[in-house]
Amino acid sequence: MLATKETNVRYTAAFFRHEEDLLAAATEARESGFEIFDAYTPIAVHGLDRAVGLKRSHLTWIAFAAGVMGLVLGLGLQVWTSVYDWPLNVGGKPFNSFPLFIPVAFELTVLFSGLIAIGVLVVRNRLWLFAKRRVFERVTDDRFVLVLKQRDASFDVRRAHKLLEKHGAVSVIEGDQFV
């Protein structure tokens, strides 16, 4: 499920100065039963996936499969054109000069794997050229934001604020619109 697809969510957002505080707050919030909507950070924070409970992506397998596809297509193209469609005698080399097909097949493996991995990132996280979405203040500069989702009326706002402030949140805001 993509966080950004849900447009109307009541949430509590806490701003932190340090990544360690964000990690500690996220871990404790999850342990005390709050639902974490997402976290927003200026840098890639190691260990945050585990702290917010994000599952490991299958992307490496997709990239591997894409590479295999590039390899098969690359070899297929070369064998088909050089052996079946129009075999040409070049310097007396055999039509199926397989070792000489390896470089192009390798390049296509890399090309397919890399471009499809990027493609998955762009499509799944919807990184379009004219994408417009909510950006929390200073989050691309020096603030780390943890967003808790208020699933229903049982969400204890006061307890949430207390927990977040305990971990050094500089400010905690409430909101209900996500773009």
Partner: protein, 464 residues
């Protein structure tokens, strides 16, 4: 470190202790906010007189090169100094030289990333930009060397009305096309991917109308979401893992252009590793030349420190020594083969009419980097600047020596010939340097020169 202490100041707590074992990568007690301000203000600032002077000079040289290229394309390859015996010379020398320059960028961005070398963060952005620009410069040469460059798309295996007559997949020249275009595409997306979070930082900060609009479009709606970061980091790792064998394959394939032929001096199995080491060697020398200029002109001394330069000097020393071993091996195997043609090539290189080029190469590539054994040389910036330029001169001559000295003494003494470049060729070569610096100067103005999001991640290095 107590919690109370931690929240007293913005970042004081993180700068309490310096590690006794490591030196901080970034000098000065920079906070996250400082990094944003330092790098973004470079983009907001109006270019100074020095930038304009450099830009106009580079652009002029590039335009001269463009005129010489137009003259070549409209008149023919006869405008060059090539002859029946020496069919490759300046053009292919420049091609191999520029492709080699590109290798350092990928080495820094991919291989050092896999080896978790944190110092790469200060230089990877500009080194990758250098890679892209160098590959563009390289790509020009084989295309204009075709004579009819407007038919260059014939190297693509597309269904056509000539049969379909397919391309010859057994030719290393075709492998080159696949290797270099893959290299360019993967390097370009890798570089752009690294830029996206920084473009978002610029978008959220820079208010000038055009720049804001540009960064808004280019930052792809990046909002720092952890779900995006998570997949982004995975893709970054995948691309690094792919770019590593890719960069090794590119110069190996370039070396196949020579090694698969039966010309003495070319037909050698050590060519792929020899070329790759030489490429990283020259590339790092070029990165050092550029970084010394950039840190001075853009006042980035706190980010690109003598420590960064020292590390690059060490890589240069290592690869330079590999190149030296390759020279020795080449000479030894030449004699050990017992083949008179091989022996003749080695003697002719060292003592023939192009011996001046050979000894320039040996001096610059085998002797000059040995100065980097001394810490004094590795930490003196004027010294590094001079040595790095000498290395690039040497590496240019290496390709010239490999190509021209192997060709000009044919198997048949009656076809022996000499090669002298024409003015057109020299201007095209200079023009490629003009193009390189023009584009690099534009990069310095438009994009964040330092990878802000990665540098922020190493601010605490050795300070906790």
């Amino acid at each position: 470190m107590s919690v109370a202490l931690k929240h007293e100041g913005e970042h004081e707590a993180h700068h309490q202790e310096l590690s006794p074992l490591r030196r901080p990568l970034i000098e000065g007690r920079k906070t996250y906010g400082d990094v944003t301000t330092d790098i973004c203000s470079l983009m907001e600032r109006k270019p100074g007189g020095l930038w304009w002077a450099a830009f106009i000079t580079s652009l002029t040289i590039f335009l001269a090169g463009a005129i010489a290229t137009t003259y070549t394309v409209t008149t023919g390859i006869g405008t060059w100094g090539l002859n029946k015996t020496v069919g490759w010379a300046f053009d292919i020398t420049n091609f191999v030289f520029w492709i080699g320059i590109g290798h350092a960028g990928t080495f820094i961005s991919a291989i050092l990333f896999l080896f978790n070398q944190k110092w790469r963060t200060s230089v990877n952005r500009s080194a990758e930009a250098m890679t892209l620009i160098a590959v563009m410069c390289a790509g020009i040469f084989p295309i204009i060397h075709m004579g009819r460059p407007w038919l260059f798309y014939w190297v693509l295996p597309y269904p056509n009305q000539r049969g379909s007559l397919w391309v010859n997949f057994r030719s290393p020249l075709l492998w080159d096309f696949f290797a270099i275009s893959t290299y360019f595409i993967i390097s370009a997306v890798f570089w752009y991917l690294g830029l996206v979070p920084d473009l978002a930082t610029a978008r959220d900060r820079i208010r000038s109308k055009w720049r804001h609009a540009l960064y808004r479009v280019m930052s792809l709606g990046w909002n720092g979401s952890n779900r995006t970061w998570s997949r982004y980091e995975t893709v970054y790792l995948i691309l690094a893992a792919l770019a590593t064998p890719l960069v090794l394959s590119v110069h190996s394939i370039v070396s196949f252009d020579f090694a698969t032929s039966v010309i003495p001096g070319w037909h050698s199995t050590i060519f792929p590793p020899y070329f790759v080491a030489g490429a990283v060697f020259s590339g790092f020398a070029m990165v050092m030349t550029l970084m010394i200029l950039v840190r001075k002109l853009m006042k980035l001394e706190a980010y690109i420190t003598p420590q960064h330069l020292e590390n690059m000097c060490k890589v240069t020393l290592l690869t330079g020594s590999i190149v030296t071993v390759a020279y020795l091996t080449e000479a030894f195997i030449g004699f050990y083969s017992g083949n008179p043609n091989e022996m003749f090539v080695i003697i002719n290189r060292a003592m023939g009419p192009y011996s001046w080029a050979y000894w320039t190469m040996v001096t610059c590539n085998a002797i000059v980097p040995q100065f980097f054994w001394f810490k004094k040389a590795r930490t003196s910036i004027p010294m590094i600047f001079v040595l790095s330029i000498l290395i690039n001169v040497g590496m240019w001559f290496e390709r010239f020596v490999i190509i021209v000295t192997s060709l000009h003494r044919d198997f048949l003494p009656s076809s022996w010939a000499m090669y002298t470049p024409t003015v057109t060729e020299i201007v095209i070569m200079l023009g490629s340097f003009g193009l390189f610096f023009t584009l690099f100067l534009l990069f310095l103005r438009i994009f964040p020169v330092i990878s802000m999001n990665e540098v922020k991640g190493v601010l605490h290095y050795a300070r906790d």
